[in-house]
């Protein structure tokens, strides 16, 4: 073979590469325009969106109260926006995934002129790690109870200035002054819910009232699931055995481990990700479940019911926090106050199907919301509250992870 053939082979190939590069160029060029639209001029392009809250975003029944009071078009800053002089242009917000109707963020932007960039986490630990790393850039963070305690003990939070949050007066005293933040120095409640047991009512002759439906006679072997959560699963096993939900003794954990390993053969899985869809589609007929999740499953399958078993369940609460190194604490205060407005709170709760800590919200919630709550059995009565406990985390609770490691090791 001669040199010339080699080199011409080269050209053929170069051409081919050029074609591929051209494709990449086209793609990046096309997307480049997109970028300019979405980031550089974010306020401009996003402005039209809020006028009609994206209906498919909210699987919940359509919201009655919110869009009735759009602000006057030429007056961008309403009375709910704090001091315009101190208000920033934009704010970074770290929230639980899928935990707010994004229409709320659009409304805040339209009403107050602050664009909200929301990122999401799927575990409190992730949020703690990000804030702990420093300069996360988030001015407002939402995490669950125990994480507040951990973050405040490590000086990762700044005290809230209640003077800037007048709507704090709307909050249910029952949900204030929690164990993890006595006196609400660092946090205010966002939403709360419970962990219990969801099932398809048509699968049972007599609806279950106890964890025995999973841990003992399990009539639905192969059609039930437990959460993928060391504290919830082991806690349920512990209370079923008569211990405290937060028990840390080795003997109790040995017993609980045995119980869980036995149940493991019968459950389809330890599942926090797919069980809502599974309940809705009938893939599983009973599942340890977050309260709000049972409500979401009910939307697709009205046979879903939710109980707190006789042995007990947990209550948990998600909270607003402002990190110590937040770039814009003032705007964060304003956004917290905004989300504590009754109409906004109603939008949020219609979406999450959790419980609102805001006393002015319940009258604004739609019939659809109440139909889901009563249909599923999510009403939080005093009798049920008495059976609920908070999960506590401290150094000694690391025994839960040790026990759970053995569940993981089992298969």
């Amino acid at each position: 073979m001669t040199k010339s053939t080699r080199i011409s082979g080269t050209r053929g190939l170069l051409l081919r590469l050029l074609a591929v590069l051209a494709v990449f160029a086209v793609v990046s060029a096309a997307c480049g325009n997109d970028d300019d639209d979405t980031t550089a001029d974010a306020p401009a392009t996003q402005a039209p969106a809020p006028t009609e809250p994206p209906a498919p975003e909210a699987p919940a029944p359509t919201e009655a109260p919110a869009p009735t009071e759009p602000p006057a078009a030429d007056e961008p800053v309403s009375g709910r926006c704090g001091d315009p002089a101190r208000l920033g242009d934009s704010i970074n917000f770290l929230n639980w995934a899928d935990y707010i109707d994004v229409a709320v963020l659009d409304m805040f932007e339209e009403e107050c002129g602050v664009s909200v960039t929301m990122d999401t986490h799927v575990a409190n630990e992730e949020a703690v790690a990000k804030v702990d790393a420093g300069n996360s850039g988030y001015s407002l963070v939402i995490v669950t109870d125990y994480a507040v305690e951990i973050m405040s003990s490590q000086d990762l939070l700044q005290p809230l200035d209640m003077g800037e949050i007048p709507n704090v007066a709307n909050i249910d005293p029952n949900q204030m002054d929690p164990y993890y933040d006595p006196g609400n120095v660092y946090s205010l409640p966002y939403q709360y819910s419970t962990t219990g047991f969801a099932f398809d009512v048509t699968a049972f002759d007599t609806p279950p009232t106890s964890y025995s439906a999973i841990f003992d006679e399990n009539p639905l072997c192969g059609q039930s699931s437990l959460l993928e959560d060391q504290r919830e699963v082991l806690g349920a096993a512990l209370v079923y055995l008569g211990y405290d939900w937060n028990e840390t003794s080795q003997a109790a954990h040995d017993e609980a481990l045995e119980l869980v390993l036995d149940a493991r053969d019968c459950v389809t899985g330890f599942d926090s990700a797919n069980y809502i869809g599974n309940l809705a589609s009938g893939e599983v007929l009973a599942a340890q479940s977050w309260g709000f999740a049972a409500g979401i499953a009910y939307l697709d399958n009205p046979n879903i019911r939710y109980i707190i078993p006789d042995e007990g369940g947990t209550i948990w609460q998600d909270n607003f926090l402002i990190p110590a190194d937040a770039p814009d604490p003032y705007t964060a205060h304003v956004l917290i106050n905004y989300m504590l407005e009754p109409d906004i709170g109603a939008l949020i709760t219609e979406f999450t199907i959790g419980y609102t800590p805001n006393l002015l919200v319940p009258p604004l919630l739609s019939d659809g919301y109440y139909e889901v709550v009563s249909g599923t059995g999510l009403e939080l009565t005093d009798e049920i509250r008495d059976r609920l406990v908070w999960q506590v985390r401290s150094e000694e609770h690391s025994i839960f992870a040790d026990t759970w490691s053995q569940v993981i090791a089992a298969g």
Partner: protein
């Protein structure tokens, strides 16, 4: 960058152009190496250091040295049933595996005209691995997860080779380069849609109430539990990693010398002999590179065991996620990770071998 004299006269002495070694290597090497070093070596060392520190509630570490994490793995991880009986059972299993494996190994060696001692050595190696696997699975909770991850990943690698080999041969035997490229691109395109969404689609297909089981039922068969089993996880591993076998293997088959295979055949070699003695050695680089990539991608997979294993079939990443996540025990996670890296490297050395690693990796 490559300041090579262009004077053609030097060609007279081949040794003067021959050692490319003389040329400056730094400009070629430095950028990539530095980049990787910054992103991996420093954090990697950090992991080793962390494994000797004290956990901090909320994640991270307290800078107080301790051996707790290692003690936890060795002492607390040990199963209550572990003892000399476990060791004995492992030895017995290994011996049984040697006995069982040597029959087909000897038969294959006879058929292919290879040395019998070599295939017996292979059978012995297999038996040894079986024994090690049994010991790891039964003796200690942590090594049980290691062993499982390694065995499943090896299985996934073998399946990937089985699926990719015919495909690579098929594509490389197309005549038109357009067809070849089209077929290759067709391998890649599905992987540009989100893997999570595709995994979700797999869940739907294999669900107890899904189309596959409905089909089984309509055929009068029993429904089978696919999801959250080893089957589902290994299927997911194969699905995720298969392109990483196909591409290098294709590049290798593209270079297969057909004349040699013809010659071997004309000299009376049987097809399996041609395959084993002529074809396989020629595609070996592709097999090794593809195999290593599939193995390492599989062994540390997080999403597949999480989404398709449903918490009932866990791999090493699930254990790590627990420690770095909910457990707030970074030192233990770091110790597990450090130990696991050693296991991964050891598995690679055992299967690929030092010489091939030097040569191909």
């Amino acid at each position: 960058m490559m300041a090579e004299p262009t004077a053609p006269t030097t060609a007279a002495d081949p040794s003067s152009t021959r050692p490319p070694a003389r040329r400056r290597v730094a400009p070629l090497l430095a950028p990539g190496l530095l980049w990787i070093a910054v992103a991996y070596v420093v954090p990697g060392l950090l992991v080793v250091v962390y494994s000797f520190l004290t956990p901090k509630l909320g994640g991270g570490v307290v800078w107080e040295a301790t051996l707790d994490s290692w003690d936890q793995i060795v002492a607390k991880g040990r199963r209550s049933t572990a003892g000399w009986g476990t060791v004995g059972a492992a030895v017995l299993r290994g011996a049984a595996a040697v006995a069982v494996a040597s029959v087909p190994a000897v038969a294959a060696a006879r058929y292919l005209g290879r040395r019998i001692s070599a295939s017996l050595a292979l059978a012995a190696l297999f038996g040894g691995l079986v024994a090690v696997n049994h010991l790891a699975s039964e003796y200690n909770n942590y090594t049980a997860v290691f062993a499982r991850s390694v065995v499943w990943s090896v299985l996934a690698t073998v399946i990937c080779i089985g699926l990719a080999l015919p495909l690579a041969v098929f594509i490389s035997s197309r005549r038109s380069p357009v067809t070849k490229n089209a077929l290759l691109i067709a391998v890649m395109i599905p992987f540009w849609t989100s893997m999570l969404v595709r995994t979700y689609a797999i869940r739907f297909l294999f669900a107890n109430t899904g189309p596959l089981n409905n089909l089984l039922e309509s055929l009068g068969l029993d429904r089978i539990v696919f999801l959250n089993t080893r089957f589902a996880v290994i299927l997911g591993l194969v699905y995720t990693a298969l392109p990483f076998m196909i591409l290098p293997l294709y590049a290798a088959t593209e270079r297969v010398d057909r004349a040699q295979m013809e010659a071997a055949r004309d000299l009376g070699a049987r097809p399996p002999q041609v395959f084993a003695d002529v074809f396989l050695p020629m595609v070996k680089p592709g097999l090794i590179v593809g195999g290593v990539m599939v193995f390492v991608l599989s062994v540390s997979q997080y999403l597949v065991p999480t989404l398709l294993g449903g918490g009932k079939t866990n791999m090493i990443a699930n254990l790590l996620e627990l420690q770095f996540g909910e457990a707030f025990n970074w030192p233990l996670g770091a110790a597990i990770a450090a130990l696991f890296s050693v296991v991964t490297l050891a598995s690679l050395y055992v299967t690929v071998g030092r010489r091939d690693q030097e040569q191909f990796l």
